[in-house]
C-alpha cells in the first residue's frame, strides 16, 4: 500500500504553453526595461558582486601558476614541471577560460546539461578583459592598463557603457590576481599518476592526473583533476576537473593561451556605431 507521501509525489501537472509564453514574454519585456540601469550598476559593482568573487576564485587558479614554486620531483616525464613557473613569469599576456558544466545524475528535473563560461585576458601591457557567457549572451568588460574606467559591451543587446572603477579597485587590475600558488600547490600535492602524452587541439601535451583535486569550496565526490602542459613550450594548456556534487556531475575545464596566441586587439572594446550607450 502506498504511503500518503508516495501518493503526493505522484501529483504532476505541466505548465501550459500559454503560461510559458506569458512568463517568457514578461521576462523579456521587464528585462528590456531594466537593462539600462542594470548594466550601469554592473559596471560599478562588478568587483564586489558574488560573481566577481567567483571570477576572482577562477583567476586564483591561474595565479597559482604564476607564483608556482619549484615542483620538481614526483611527476617526472618529458615536461620539466619545476621550470614552468619561471617560464610563465616571463610572459606578459595570457588568456584563461573557465567552462563550468553541470549535468543531472539520476535527476529527471535536470535532464539537459548546463554550462557557463568565464574568459579572462590579462596583460600588464594591454590591460584586462573579462567575458561572461558563451551562449550568445556574452557580456564583456574591459579595463585598459593604468586606467580608472571600466567599459562594458553587451553585443546581444547592442549596448555599452563606460563607468568609473570603484575606488578600491583602481590601479589594481590585473595585479590583484598575482597571488601565487596555493591552488596549484595543493593540486600537485594530491596523489597523482602520469598520463603520458596526448594531443589537444593539435598541440602535443603531457599530463598528470590527481585524485580529489582541490576546489574552491567543499569537496567533489570521486573527483579527478588533470593538468596538461605543452611539451614544446612547457606551458599549461588545460586543467580538467570532474566529480560529483549535490547529485550532479560537475566538470570544470580551464584553458590557457599565452603570449602571441593572445592578440592585443582582444583588449580593445569593439563598439559598432549602432550600439546604444548606457553611460549617463
Amino acid at each position: 500500500m502506498k504511503s500518503v507521501d508516495q501518493w503526493i509525489k505522484q501529483l504532476h501537472l505541466r505548465a501550459s504553453d500559454a503560461l510559458d509564453r506569458r512568463v517568457h514574454a514578461d521576462i523579456d519585456r521587464a528585462l528590456a526595461d531594466t537593462q539600462m540601469t542594470t548594466h550601469l550598476k554592473i559596471g560599478r559593482t562588478i568587483m564586489t558582486s558574488p560573481f566577481a568573487k567567483l571570477a576572482a576564485a577562477a583567476v586564483v587558479v591561474l595565479a597559482g601558476m604564476l607564483g608556482l614554486n619549484i615542483l620538481s620531483g614526483p611527476h617526472g616525464g618529458g615536461v620539466a614541471w619545476g621550470a614552468i613557473p619561471d617560464h610563465i613569469k616571463t610572459i606578459d599576456t595570457f588568456m584563461f577560460r573557465l567552462t563550468i558544466g553541470v549535468q543531472g545524475k539520476n535527476d529527471a528535473s535536470v535532464s539537459d546539461g548546463h554550462t557557463g563560461q568565464f574568459t579572462f585576458y590579462l596583460s600588464e601591457q594591454y590591460g584586462f578583459r573579462m567575458d561572461i557567457g558563451g551562449d550568445g549572451t556574452t557580456v564583456s568588460w574591459y579595463v585598459p592598463p593604468q586606467s580608472d574606467t571600466i567599459t562594458m559591451v553587451a553585443p546581444a543587446d547592442k549596448k555599452w557603457s563606460k563607468s568609473p572603477l570603484p575606488p578600491e579597485q583602481r590601479g589594481k587590475m590585473p595585479e590583484q590576481y598575482e597571488d601565487p600558488a596555493e591552488y596549484i600547490q595543493r593540486f600537485l600535492a594530491r596523489p597523482s599518476r602520469e598520463l603520458g602524452r596526448s594531443v589537444i587541439d593539435g598541440v602535443e601535451v603531457e599530463g598528470i592526473e590527481v585524485t580529489d583535486p582541490p576546489i574552491e569550496k567543499g569537496k567533489l565526490a570521486n573527483g579527478i583533476g588533470r593538468l596538461w602542459v605543452d611539451v614544446q613550450n612547457q606551458l599549461p594548456v588545460r586543467i580538467e576537473i570532474e566529480g560529483a556534487a549535490d547529485g550532479k556531475i560537475v566538470r570544470w575545464l580551464m584553458e590557457f593561451k599565452w603570449s602571441e596566441a593572445v592578440p592585443a586587439s582582444v583588449f580593445e572594446p569593439n563598439i559598432p556605431n549602432d550600439y546604444t550607450s548606457l553611460t549617463q
Binding site: V4, D5, W7, I8, K9, Q10, L11, H12, L13, R14, A15, S16, A18, L19, D20, R22, V23, H24, D26, I27, D28, A30, L31, T34, Q35, T38, H39, K41, I42, S49, P50, F51, L54, I100, V102, S109, V110, H114, G116, I132, G133, D135, T137, V139, A245, D246, K248, V250
Partner: protein, 181 residues
C-alpha cells in the same frame, strides 16, 4: 545546487537567459504545487506567473542562501495562501446571504485536475484545513524541512510536526474509506 547558484549569479547581473532557464527548470513543479494548494489550474498558473514577475524584480538584491527550488516553492505557497484567503473572504460574504453552501467534496472539475487516478487524493486534500494541505504539500511534494515550513507558516516546529501527523492520518483515512466503498 551548483547549477542553481550559477544561474543566480547570472540572474543577479540581469542575464535574461538565466531567468528563462530557472523558469523552465521549475515551472512544472511550481504549477503542480500551486494547483494542489488552490485546486484550480488557472489560478495556479496566475500564481506562478506572479511569482516569477516578482522574482524578476528582485534580480539585483536576491541572494540564494538555500535551495532555489525551496525558495520558489515558498513564494508560491505564500502567494497561493493570499489567493486562498481572498477567495475565502468572498465565499464568506456570499454565505452571509446564502447559508449552507459548504460542501466537503470538491466540484468534479477540481477533483479531476490531476487525473482520475489521483482524484481521491485530490478530494482528500480538499477536505484538509488549508494550512495542513499546505504543510503536506510543502513537505511531501517540495521536500521542505519541518523547520523551514514552520517559518513559512509562522508557527513552531512542534506545531508543524503535529499538524503533519494529523494531516497524513486524515488523508490516509479518507483514502482507505474510499477504497472500502
Amino acid at each position: 545546487m551548483l547549477e542553481d547558484k550559477y544561474l543566480i549569479l547570472r540572474f543577479n547581473r540581469g542575464d535574461k537567459g538565466a531567468l528563462h532557464r530557472i523558469y523552465d527548470k521549475y515551472r512544472h513543479d511550481l504549477v503542480t504545487l500551486a494547483a494542489a494548494l488552490l485546486l484550480d489550474v488557472s489560478q495556479a498558473e496566475d500564481v506562478v506567473h506572479d511569482v516569477f514577475i516578482a522574482f524578476l524584480d528582485s534580480a539585483e538584491r536576491f541572494r540564494l542562501t538555500g535551495s532555489l527550488k525551496g525558495y520558489l516553492a515558498t513564494c508560491v505557497a505564500n502567494r497561493a495562501r493570499n489567493v486562498n484567503k481572498a477567495a475565502w473572504r468572498r465565499h464568506s460574504t456570499a454565505l452571509d446571504s446564502v447559508p449552507e453552501m459548504a460542501c466537503d467534496a470538491p466540484p468534479p472539475e477540481q477533483a479531476a485536475i490531476f487525473g482520475e487516478q489521483l482524484g481521491q487524493l485530490t478530494e482528500a486534500l480538499q477536505q484538509l484545513p488549508y494550512e495542513q494541505r499546505e504543510l503536506l504539500l510543502l513537505r511531501s511534494h517540495s521536500g521542505m524541512r519541518f523547520a523551514t515550513i514552520a517559518k513559512v507558516q509562522g508557527v513552531s516546529i512542534n506545531t508543524v510536526q503535529g499538524r503533519y501527523r494529523y494531516a497524513v492520518s486524515k488523508v490516509r483515512s479518507i483514502l482507505d474509506s474510499e477504497a472500502d466503498l
